[in-house]
């Protein structure tokens, strides 16, 4: 039986190896969530606009992103962006762009469902008051839709945080990479993989507990 020795794991190792990766993973998650929600909202509005010139490109984009493995999307962007702009960009920037583009497709589906969950009477009431489409969306529909969507957004953010570990494919320095390099340098790969799993578990488990608490709070009683 193999015994585990965690004594090598101290504050110094944490600040030297793990912290940098953790910060990148969190930063990537936050940027991709905010960017994904903004772009995703526009995609959702395009899909609900009823104009074929907007509906079809948005639908095509969302369906394409949803049918390709994220690892392949990461590789695609890492290959294509330097080809298009003519110079290499770092793995970190490439990962950030990829995650915004990829998550936008998933957030747009959530936003679409959220908008459709707002009763039709609300839209008619806004129109009856003489609101334009933009005013109606901004002041009536989206505030209610976003409130309904908060728990789903947060669940998607937890999945997104887990997915950031896939930047492994292009060698960006994220939380998992931090653990892996620490494990190699200290000659303790088994212990560091266990610590990595524990770290991800603690973060994601507490977040999902928080989602459940918020879910009960924000539910609109009808």
């Amino acid at each position: 039986m193999l015994s585990l020795d965690l004594s090598f794991y101290n504050w110094e190792l944490f600040t030297n190896y793990i912290l940098k990766g953790l910060l990148f993973s969190v930063q990537l998650t936050v940027i991709a969530t905010v960017g994904g929600i903004v772009v995703g909202t526009f995609l959702a509005l395009m899909r609900l606009s009823g104009r074929p010139s907007l509906v079809y490109p948005a639908t095509f984009y969302v369906n394409t992103m949803r049918s390709i493995p994220l690892v392949m999307v990461i590789l695609w962007f890492f290959l294509l962006i330097p080809m298009l702009i003519g110079r290499p960009i770092g793995a970190d920037l490439s990962a950030t762009i990829t995650f915004i583009a990829f998550e936008a497709a998933f957030f747009s589906e959530i936003v679409r469902a959220g908008i459709q969950s707002v009763p039709k009477g609300q839209i008619y009431a806004g129109e009856a008051l003489g609101m334009t489409y933009g005013q109606n969306m901004r002041l009536v529909v989206l505030p209610q839709a976003f409130r309904n969507m908060i728990p789903v957004f947060m669940t998607q953010t937890i999945i997104l945080f887990q997915d950031t570990s896939l930047v492994y494919a292009i060698g960006a320095y994220d939380l998992l990479k931090g653990f892996e390099i620490a494990g190699k340098n200290y000659g303790r790969p088994i212990e560091t993989y266990i610590l990595a799993a524990a770290t991800y578990f603690i973060i994601c488990f507490s977040l999902s507990k928080a989602v459940r608490a918020i879910q009960a709070k924000v539910a609109i009683i009808r």
Partner: protein, 263 residues
Amino acid sequence: MALDLGVFCKSTLDGEVVEHCFSSIFGLGQNADPSYLDWLMKAWGWTLAVAGLGLAIALILGAVMGTLRTLPDNGRLSRVLVRISTAWVELFRNIPVLVQVFLWYHVIPAFIFPLKALPSYWLVSIALGFFTSARIAEQVRAGIQSLPSGQRAAATALGLTTPQTYRYVILPMALRIVIPPLTSESMNVIKNSSVAFAVSVPELTLFAMQAQEETSHGVEIYLAVTALYALSAFAVNRVMALIEKRSRIPGFIAASNDASLAH
């Protein structure tokens, strides 16, 4: 930018064009070098093997764990089972799939020696299967809980035991209801099998990375790999649609949907 699909007919050994594109698979060119197309097809086979095995594990474990989570609170055993299945779901849902693959590949065989004898794609399939089983368990649980409570009460009134209630009343309904969400989880297994690249299973993603580097025809290689992933996921989608159609009880699914809204 023009696509150069000729890259697939080149030899993986010296980069020269081979006589027959499918040289080694169909045995057309005896003793010929394998082409990139051969390699692509083999990689596709690995992807399907990893995903297929992972899906089988996920469906079985997910159905069992999802069912256990809904057991009625009528004894010590059922309370323990509910707790175990809840812990199972939380554990495997909250660790990224790539980390789980590393755990199964690097960590667990160090403690459970027989696993060392398994080929690495089995370990990836187990990781993928356990990860997905947590998601499937949640769908199965939701499906069971969407049934009107009268079903369970009626079974109890007829004198059925808990196992009989599940076997004859609840599961036949619930497993049909959950087919649509299981379809998307099954497609996710195909997509998530791409993480196998990280432990050097020679599947599509690893092919994409290596062939891209060797040939510098990344766009063509990635296009082919992406198309095969999409095709595989679509095939899974159609098979599940067929199962859904075959297993449908006329008039029943709509009725149960109404019931789930009412309760």
